[in-house]
């Protein structure tokens, strides 16, 4: 105001220095009026700004504490409520239950119907669960298809078991996803707090372990946490750490089991099987560590090592011998699989027709389109493809129809019972007929006795492998026993030994 008046004074001062006070007063009044108007505008804008900030604050609070898709609480809000309820439970000497909920086969919905359908299902499932709980319970979504439920109930663990059972039933009902009926299931892990005080983090971890057990026990069920689960999980964690060190430490080794052609009585090739020479625990069988490696994704680098080693070994063998390598679903999900195989063939100089890839039906079930595309790429290279463990899983003929496999391998469980169980014999007979009819080789696995050998031979099996001829052996033993002399002689000796 001062600077303004100084300038305005110049406007109302005559050359002789007389000041027109009336004009100056007018100017001052006008300046005050302007200042008043400005103040009103400032007040108004401050008010609107405050309203806007309040609105933003509310939105931010909601965003920070809720899941945007389902409107349920998020992990943060759930944990806050849980801490409060735990304190109350401790004071009153009561218990509360934490339920860790995970959907079964939810990934299939996303993969086959798209993420929009997946989101729709999550919303419907959240609503179903919300309508099944009491107001005092808290349901939260952690992300994906993982949910947490805090149950405040007097009689634990009965109340939690009852609620879990009800939730599993509700989740098993069909979902209407834009006119498409879809089904999922639910697995639930439950941890109940102890009146003497379980910590929030411990409860959450225990419920998670129990969920893991529920999934392992076949899904669609619930399990309560027990201390044994903790031990099991710890040993898994240790094994996972050891597995990751094993590759650079050179602790893996490939064993090879001969595959014998029954018509020519000659070895036609070898199946490569991985073994782990653990520095403290000794030799570990693959069924102990392969499932964990598949789960953690470690199977991908491990599988690459296997195919490279197997190709390198086979390249030194006579040219009529092939090598078979097992490839898991996790490896097929890795887009670099074909490149890995091409690299291994190139590095070893092994002709592609001497490499056989064995897959199980489950690989096709998980991701049929991508797997088929990869199989066709491999086939185009000349690589042979075998269907492993046929008869144990889905045994769907459509899988056999979807790709022209070179070979069907009949699972050892049928061969084992072939002498005692007419059902097993009939299955072997049917599979062999199927293979022969479709122009595929039929290989019987797990042949341990001469009676079994006679039986599968008379049923028309083309090849066999099993302890009767040889157990899997290190590469140097294979080369010493079977490749350094006439293979016919070797076979005669082995048959005699058996």
């Amino acid at each position: 105001m001062h600077r303004l008046l100084a300038h305005q004074l110049a406007r109302v001062t005559s050359k002789s220095g007389d000041v027109n006070l009336a004009a100056l007063l007018d100017m001052v009044s006008q300046a005050y009026a302007e200042a008043d108007l400005d103040r009103r505008r400032t007040d108004h804008s401050a008010l609107v700004m405050c309203q806007e900030m309040e609105q933003l604050n509310t939105e931010l609070h909601k965003l920070a504490h809720h899941d945007t898709l389902t409107g349920l609480a998020n992990r943060g809000l759930f944990r806050e409520g849980m801490l409060r309820q735990l304190a109350l439970a401790r004071r009153d000497g009561t218990s509360l239950a934490v339920l860790c909920i995970d959907f079964d086969r939810f990934k299939n919905i996303n993969d086959t119907l798209g993420h929009h359908a997946g989101d729709l299902l999550l919303k419907q499932a959240a609503e179903r669960m919300r309508s099944s709980i009491r107001d005092s319970d808290t349901l939260a979504r952690l992300g994906g298809d993982e949910f947490l439920l805090l149950q405040i109930a007097g009689s634990q663990p009965e109340a939690a078991a009852q609620l879990a059972d009800q939730l599993i039933k509700r989740l098993a009902e069909p979902f209407d996803l834009d006119g498409e009926q879809s089904y999922i299931g639910g697995s639930i892990g439950i941890a109940v707090s102890q009146p003497d005080g379980s910590g929030a983090d411990e409860l959450l971890r225990n419920a998670d372990l129990a969920l893991y057990q529920a999934k392992e026990d076949g899904r669609g069920t619930f399990r309560f946490f027990s201390p044994g689960m903790d031990l099991k999980m710890r040993s898994r964690r240790i094994m996972d750490q050891d597995l990751r060190k094993a590759l650079p430490a050179g602790e893996f080794e490939l064993y090879y089991q001969p595959v014998v052609n029954l018509a020519s009585n000659k070895i036609s090739g070898f199946e490569a099987l991985i073994r782990w020479n653990h520095p403290e625990r000794g030799l570990i069988a693959p069924n102990t560590f392969i499932p964990l490696a598949e789960e953690t994704g470690f199977i991908v680098p491990m599988g690459e090592w296997v195919v490279r080693q197997a190709c390198a070994a086979a390249a030194k063998w006579p040219e009529d011998l092939h090598v078979a390598v097992n490839v898991s679903g996790a490896e097929f999900r890795n887009p670099g699989l074909v490149q890995v195989i091409v690299g291994a063939l190139a590095a070893s100089g092994l002709h592609p027709t001497r490499l056989e890839i064995e897959i199980t039906e489950s690989v096709l079930v998980q991701n049929k389109e991508t797997t088929l595309a990869t199989l066709h790429q491999l086939r185009a290279l000349g690589v042979r493809i075998a269907m492993d463990d046929f008869g144990t899983g889905y045994s769907s003929l459509t899988y056999l129809q979807s790709f022209p496999f070179d070979k069907i391998k009949i699972d050892r469980s049928f061969v084992k019972d072939i002498m005692e169980n007419a059902g097993s014999l009939n299955i072997v007979r049917a599979v062999v007929a199927l293979a022969n009819g479709m122009g595929m080789t039929a290989t019987a696995e797990g042949v341990e006795t001469t009676e079994q050998l006679d039986s599968i031979t008379s049923e028309g099996c083309t090849e066999m492998q099993g302890f009767l001829f040889s157990q899997p052996l290190p590469v140097q033993d294979i080369e010493r026993l079977f490749l350094s002399r006439s293979r016919k002689q070797a076979i005669a000796e082995r048959s005699f030994v058996a």
């Binding site: 600077r3 300038h7 300046a31 505008r41 700004m49």
Partner: protein
């Protein structure tokens, strides 16, 4: 440096208001009413009066000569330099699309090792002032002071003219370069508007049309803040322009006046481009603070005008038409306040523009501003 001042009105024709009317000048700068200039007669008369001078000028909403502000006239300052060389450049058929290339071309035409400053005039309706400025900066930034303005019209927003050594026309960019060691140039600019409310990101625009800020309709937000004062049309926009700046360079803020708003589509049209990703704040006007802003602009250059100048000193004033419209009768205050600071001896010539060109600060290149008063000081010292 000697200055003769002339004024043309429909009633009196040309009159020399200061100086002898010697007919000797190196440069004549003129601004005037579009309809008075469009026929080319004013240019021809000035050319005849100053046959050896370069002539640069353009159309204006209103003109400034001395302390007087007027419409429907033409004002001119004929400058004779003691030791400074000047050169002009003009490009025709300039459009919004090729404005940047035009700026670069003008820059290349005027570039020389002893170039001290450029004063540029662009057709304020047909030329993109931001692009023009960016082009000039690209070639000349750091080498000299770049100032100027976008010519205007009688607020019918249809046609604005500019010209250098040619009758003023639309689609033209005209510029003059000042060369040599004796010329002293400085610029100041100020606004006087108050920014208020939170900073918001400009999220959807198309050229100079703004649709969304922070992913929300801009007009809706604008109306909420401005409340009952939003009457639609240009008037409200002039009172409440936007202060915009690159998100990481708030010091390079420029003011954008609203030319119009469409409530149906939610589009707000501004006098200058609205780059997406820039930050924006609402501003409000206060007549007293606008007038004091003019005084601030003058104060910034006072220290750069040498007291021992050889002959006359000139202040080229480019002030925004938006200020002219908002201040109404009190627009004379801003000229008076600026002159209070400059002192009675400094000659003043200027116009009300559709965009002012000047550096935002001493360290940066020129930028296009709206709603500011920009003053360029010219003086010569003894060589």
């Amino acid at each position: 440096m000697q200055i003769e001042e002339l004024r043309w009105t429909p009633l009196t024709g040309w009159r020399t208001e200061r100086g002898a009317g010697s007919g000797r000048a190196d440069l004549v700068i003129y601004f005037g009413d579009r309809d008075a200039l469009r026929c080319g007669a004013r240019y021809a008369e000035l050319r005849a009066a100053y046959p050896d001078a370069h002539l640069i000028g353009g159309s204006a909403t209103a003109t400034i000569l001395g302390g007087e502000l007027d419409r429907q006239n033409v004002v001119a300052s004929a400058i004779r330099f003691a030791g400074t060389r000047v050169a002009v450049a003009q490009l025709d058929s300039v459009t919004k699309e090729n404005s940047r290339a035009c700026g670069e071309a003008i820059g290349r035409k005027l570039a020389a090792p002893d170039l001290a400053g450029v004063f540029v005039l662009g057709d304020g309706m047909g030329v993109d002032g931001s692009g023009l400025t960016a082009g000039l900066n690209h070639v000349l930034a750091g080498a000299c002071l770049i100032t100027g303005g976008m010519t205007s019209d009688p607020c019918d927003y249809t046609e604005a003219l500019a010209g250098a050594d040619a009758p003023p026309a639309s689609g033209v960019v005209a510029a003059v370069g000042f060369y040599g060691p004796n010329i002293r140039l400085a610029s100041g600019h100020a606004c006087g508007w108050d920014a208020f409310g939170p900073r918001r990101r400009i999220t959807r625009t198309s050229g100079n049309v703004l649709f969304e800020m922070d992913d929300k309709p801009a007009l809706e937000l604008y109306e909420r803040y401005i409340g009952d004062e939003v009457g639609g049309g240009t008037g409200s926009g002039v009172v409440f322009p936007l202060l915009i700046s690159p998100s990481d360079q708030p010091e390079h803020a420029v003011v954008r006046a609203i030319l119009g708003m469409d409530k149906t589509s939610g589009a707000m049209t501004f006098a200058g481009d609205m780059p997406e990703g820039w930050m924006a704040r609402l501003m409000r006007g206060n007549l007293d603070r606008l007038a004091l802003g003019a005084a601030d602009a003058a104060r910034q250059i006072c220290s750069s005008l040498p007291q021992n100048a050889l002959g006359d000193r000139l202040a080229l004033i480019v002030s925004c038409t938006g200020r002219y419209l908002l201040m109404g009768q009190r627009v004379v205050d801003e000229i008076a306040f600026a002159r209070d600071e400059l002192g009675p001896d400094v000659r003043c010539l200027g116009f009300y523009s559709y965009g002012e060109i000047a550096p935002a600060d001493r360290a940066s290149g020129a930028e296009l501003h709206n709603q500011t008063m920009t003053i360029v000081a010219l003086a010569e010292i003894e060589g």
